[in-house]
Symmetry: C2
Subunit: 218 residues, 2 copies
């Protein structure tokens, strides 16, 4: 089951905010000081009214005819997304995907800092990946408690994913970012977010199939 979290902000809005952030950071780098919703909307296939409504949820305040201060808007979005204070996270799975996530330094900008990695493969335990030691899975629970870790990242195969999630939840993790393709069950009060690469790939390959088959009939 997907978790049911009461929230006034739609998932669609949450997913558009990082897109605005990238546009804004690009403007900021180029020395632009003020920006309007119309300018932001130009990068997308939706209009300025939706941009304005999305930005309102962050509490950002624009000025009539001038627009938003770029630097302030970046701050407001980051605060709203919880990216202002970096959260420590544990990663489970030291395979290729796990290695990649450990090596992806950009997560820092998105409020995420992977502080430890766990695996149950004796050949991996004790080795180092990007200067982080791979720890045995039975170290997970005591360390979650001692280090007050809230986020667990699951980068194991589909077969092992539910057991890992259960262990994370039992250890006191509050939010799970899952990279395994299998559907997972999570208790109420814990957040489950799926980073579903295979779903994105499904859209791509199906569209490509249709495109290569020629124009679709009405």
């Amino acid at each position: 089951m997907e978790p049911k979290i009461l929230s006034a902000v739609s998932r669609s809005t949450l997913k558009r905010l990082p897109l605005y952030l990238h546009v804004l950071e690009d403007l900021h780098r180029r020395g632009v000081v003020y920006v309007s919703c119309t300018t932001i909307a130009r990068k997308f296939d939706f209009g300025p009214i939706l941009v304005r409504k999305d930005l309102e949820v962050t509490g950002a305040a624009g000025k009539a005819k001038i627009g938003f201060r770029v630097a302030g808007l970046i701050d407001d979005i980051k605060k709203f997304l919880g990216w202002h204070n970096v959260q420590d996270a544990f990663l489970v799975g030291a395979g290729n995907l796990g290695k990649a996530l450990l090596g992806y330094q950009d997560f820092d900008s998105y409020g995420l800092n992977i502080v430890a990695v766990f695996d149950n493969d004796p050949r991996k335990i004790g080795t180092r990946i990007f200067n982080k030691e791979v720890l045995a899975l039975d170290k997970l629970a005591p360390l979650v408690k001692r280090m007050h870790i809230n986020i667990g990242i699951v980068a194991v195969s589909s077969e092992g994913a539910q057991a890992v999630v259960d262990a994370l939840v039992a250890a006191g993790i509050r939010a799970v970012w899952n990279f395994a393709p299998a559907p997972l069950e999570i208790p109420e009060g814990v957040i489950l977010e799926n980073a579903r690469l295979t779903q994105s790939l499904a859209v791509l390959t199906n569209k490509l199939k249709s495109l290569l088959a020629g124009p679709e009939k009405e």
Copy 2:
């Protein structure tokens, strides 16, 4: 701009099909021969009617009271998604994310085979990652044509992403799977699918922030 491809099948349906596939493959491994929409739906927070409507688009035919043959349904979904025949793809970007994608052997099961990797960093060109040589970017266009490659995967930073996409499109690529967080422009007739890790992370961190702040007010 996101590409506008006419399609009778919704993006939501396309994104649910891989989830059904995982449930079905699990049942298949456990020797289950027939399955009903009700059984599949039990794994999700939506009902059997939606499952039935989703499965109908693949052309799969179930029998009253018996349901679908598991093996046949797996085949039908894979064919519909274009995962039955593996497509060769080029990857641009030999950084950490690129390395991870190269190492993620599971893509084979999802119809994707990364056959070559490109980068413009002279220190990377000529090195090997998972037994694939990193090629210079100027080799991209002639190889796309010679090898009839349809899919390009973009695993570069946001700053360089648009230039890479333009090069892929100019070379004749028909579908781009983008891992850069920046919004990209693509001409009509070429598919752009964004695998947006930062968007998924935004949902996670915002929900966690709300959760840690305590119960929300109505």
